[in-house]
C-alpha cells in the first residue's frame, strides 16, 4: 500500500540524513521525499511517499518517532488529505508541435513559463498521476527534460500537523 508520511523535524544540519539513513538501513522504500522549512524557521516539514504492509508502516512511523530530531509524524493517507506535486517539463516546440504543446498544456491546466524559438518549459501541478498522464499524452520524442519535486501533502479540514 502507498502511504504519504508527513514529518515535522528540527531544522538542523544532518536531520535529513538521519531520516534518509533510517530508510536505507532498514530497507524501507522511498518513492519520493521532499523537505523545506515551515513558517517557523526552526522546523522543517518533510513528506515521504513510501510503500509497505501495515506492519512495515507501523515500524516506519515508530522508527521515525524514535529519531531525536523528529518532533511529529503522521500518516496522511490514513484520512482525507490533499497531495500535490510540481513538474517542470522542457519540450521541443517547433512547427506544428508548437501549437499542439500549447494545447496540451492548456488541457492539463499547465502554464508555459519559458519560451524560445524551439522550446517551451511547461509548469504543471497536481497529483503524481496527473504528471504521469501528461507525459504519456505527449509525443515522447519531444520531451527534452523533466524535473519533479516529489509529492507534498496536507490533511484536509481540521487535521492539522503543528507543534
Amino acid at each position: 500500500m502507498r502511504h504519504i508520511i508527513s514529518v515535522l523535524l528540527e531544522n538542523e544540519a544532518g536531520a535529513l540524513s538521519r531520516v534518509a539513513g533510517l530508510f536505507s538501513a532498514r530497507g524501507y522504500n522511498i518513492e519520493s521525499l521532499t523537505v523545506a522549512p515551515t513558517e517557523d524557521a526552526s522546523l522543517s516539514r518533510m513528506t515521504i511517499v513510501t510503500r509497505g504492509s501495515d506492519e512495515i508502516l507501523e515500524q516506519i512511523t515508530k522508527q521515525l518517532n524514535k529519531l531525536v530530531d523528529v518532533v511529529k509524524v503522521v500518516d496522511l493517507s490514513e484520512a482525507a488529505h490533499s497531495e500535490r506535486e510540481l513538474m517542470l517539463i522542457k519540450v521541443r516546440a517547433t512547427g506544428k508541435d508548437r501549437e499542439e504543446m500549447k494545447r496540451m498544456a492548456d488541457i492539463f491546466r499547465g502554464r508555459v513559463i519559458d519560451v524560445t524559438e524551439s522550446t517551451y518549459v511547461i509548469e504543471l501541478t497536481g497529483t503524481g498521476a496527473k504528471m504521469d498522464s501528461f507525459i504519456a499524452a505527449i509525443d515522447a520524442g519531444l520531451i527534452l527534460e523533466t524535473v519533479r519535486t516529489g509529492v507534498c501533502g496536507i490533511g484536509r479540514g481540521d487535521r492539522i500537523l503543528k507543534v
Binding site: 523535524l9 528540527e10 544540519a13 544532518g14 540524513s17 538521519r18 539513513g21 538501513a25 506492519e55 507501523e58 515500524q59 515508530k62 522508527q63 518517532n65 524514535k66 531525536v68 530530531d69 523528529v70 518532533v71 507543534v163
Partner: protein
Amino acid sequence: MISGAEIVIRCLQEEKVDCVFGYPGGSVLHIYDALFKQDQVKHILVRHEQAAVHAADAYSRSSQKVGVALVTSGPGVTNTITGIATAYSDSIPMVVITGQVPTAYIGQDAFQECDTVGITRPCVKHNFLVKDVKDLASTIKKAFHIAATGRPGPVVVDVPKDVTAQMCEFEYPKTIQMRSYNPVVKGHLGQIKKAVQLLQEAKRPIIYAGGGVILSDAAEKLTDLARKLDFPVTNTLMGLGSYPATDRQSVGMLGMHGTYEANMAMHHADVVLAVGARFDDRVIGNPAHFGDEPRKIIHVDIDPSSISKRVKVDVPIVGNVPDVLDEMLKLMDASFKTDKVAVGDWWKQIEEWRGRDCLRYRQSELIMPQYVVQKLYEVTGGDAYITSDVGQHQMFAAQYYKFDKPRRWINSGGLGTMGVGLPYGMGVLMANPEAQVACITGEGSIQMNIQELSTCKQYGLPLKIINLNNGMLGMVRQWQEMFYSKRYSQSYVTSLPDFVKLAESYGHVGMKIEKPEDVEPALRQAFTEYKDRLVFMDFIIDPTANVFPMVAAGKGLTEMILAEDL
C-alpha cells in the same frame, strides 16, 4: 570566561563523572590540558580507542552511571566504532567526546579529519557537532540526558579544536527541554489492567525478562511480581541476573543455547509476559515456528518500536519497566487470583522438562570448560562480576555461572563483539574497585584487545582472566562440525603465544592449568594469594567440548539439539 576545553571538563564534573577512558591526540590537546589541571575527573589511558569505549560501556553496565570516553579526531574516532556499535546494540548509556579538526578545516580533507557525525550516525542514539562554544555546555547536557533516558544508548559529541580554545561564560543548564525528545515513562493504565486480567486467566504462563529490566533497575520489582504470581521466569542472555538464577522459579536462559525447560516453557506458554526484551532471532528462533502456537503476549518496553517488530503482541505497554511493574503490583489487590490449579499442573510439566538435566556434560580426562565455570562460581561464592568475550566460553559462562544479581553479567549480547572481555573487566573494576571481577574468554577473543594488559598494569586493575583455551575458534568450529561436515575452515588458531610469559612480561601473574584436579586450587590461589594482582589463567581445555542445548539457526525453539542426542 573559561575555554571550551575547560567547559568540557566542567560539564563532566557537573555530571559527577569520576572517570573517563581515553586516548589523546592533536584535536583534543586543549581538553587534555584542561584535564591535567584538575583532579576530580580521573582519566584512564587505554592502549587502543576501541578499548576506551568498551571500558566506558562496561563502567555503565556495572553501575548505574553513564560511561564516558574521550578520543581524538580521525583514526581516534574510527577506532571507536566497534565499541559504539556494541553499546548501541545493547542500549548502553554512554557519552563519547571526540575531537574534530578546526571548524574552518571541516570538509577540506584536513589531517586526521573524518566525518564523525556521518560515520557514527547509524550506531548512535544521537550525535552532535558543536560549532559554537556557546552551545557546548548545553549540548553536553543534552548528550547525557539523551544517553540515559528512554531507551538508553550511546551519544557522540564532536568538538572541533578551535571550539575548545574559544572563551565563553560557563553555565551548566540544570534541566533540559527538547520538544522533539520526550520519552514516555508511565504505561497506559487501560493496557496494564488488561495485562493483569490476562495474568489471572493464564494457565501456562511465563515471564520472559530481558536486558531492559537490568537497564531500568527493575530487577527487584520483577522479582516481587514473579514471586507474587508464582510463575516461571526465563531470562535472555542480556537479562541474566534480573531474576535470581538459583531461585526455584527460574527456568534459566532461553534461546539458541537456552535450557530445555526454558525453551519448552516459552514455546508452550499460553500467556507470555515479556519485560524489557525484544523477541530477537537468537531468542525465539524461527518466528514462523514460534507463531504457530497460539498464545497471548503482553509486552512491556520503553521503546515502542520494539513492540510488534518480530512477533505480534496482544497487549502492548509502552513505558518505563519499573513504573509499569509498580502499576501492575498495585492492581494485584486482595481480589487478584491466579489459576492455582492450572498453574500447578504447568509447574509439574516444567519440572518434568527440568528433569532432563540439559546442562549435564560429558566427562573427560581433560579439563571441561563447563567445569571451570562451575568452580569459578563456587570459589567466588557466586558473587563476582563476570565479563566475557564471544564464543563458546561466553555461552558456558552464561549457562553455568548462576547470576543472582543484576549488573553482574557483562557481555556483548546484541553485536556479539569478540575482544570486549578484557576492556569490560577494566570498566567494571573502575566502577567497582572492591569487587571480584573475572573475565571468561577464549584464546581467540582475548587476542583482539590483549594490549590492554598494559593498561591494567598501569592502573593496578586486579582482573582475573579465565582463558578457556581450546586452540580453536571454538564456536566457529562447533558450527563447522555440525553444519559443514567437519570442514574446519580457518577455525584453528596456531602460533598461540605463551600466555603465561605474555602475562608476566606485562608484569602480571600467569598460570597454566592443564589438569582437572588443578582447576580449583588454581582459582583459589588467584582469588586469595593474588587477590590484588591481575592473574592470567590459561586453562587448556578439551577442544572437542560443544555448547548444548542448541537451536540451530532458522529452527524452532523446541527443535533443540541436546548433548545426549549425539
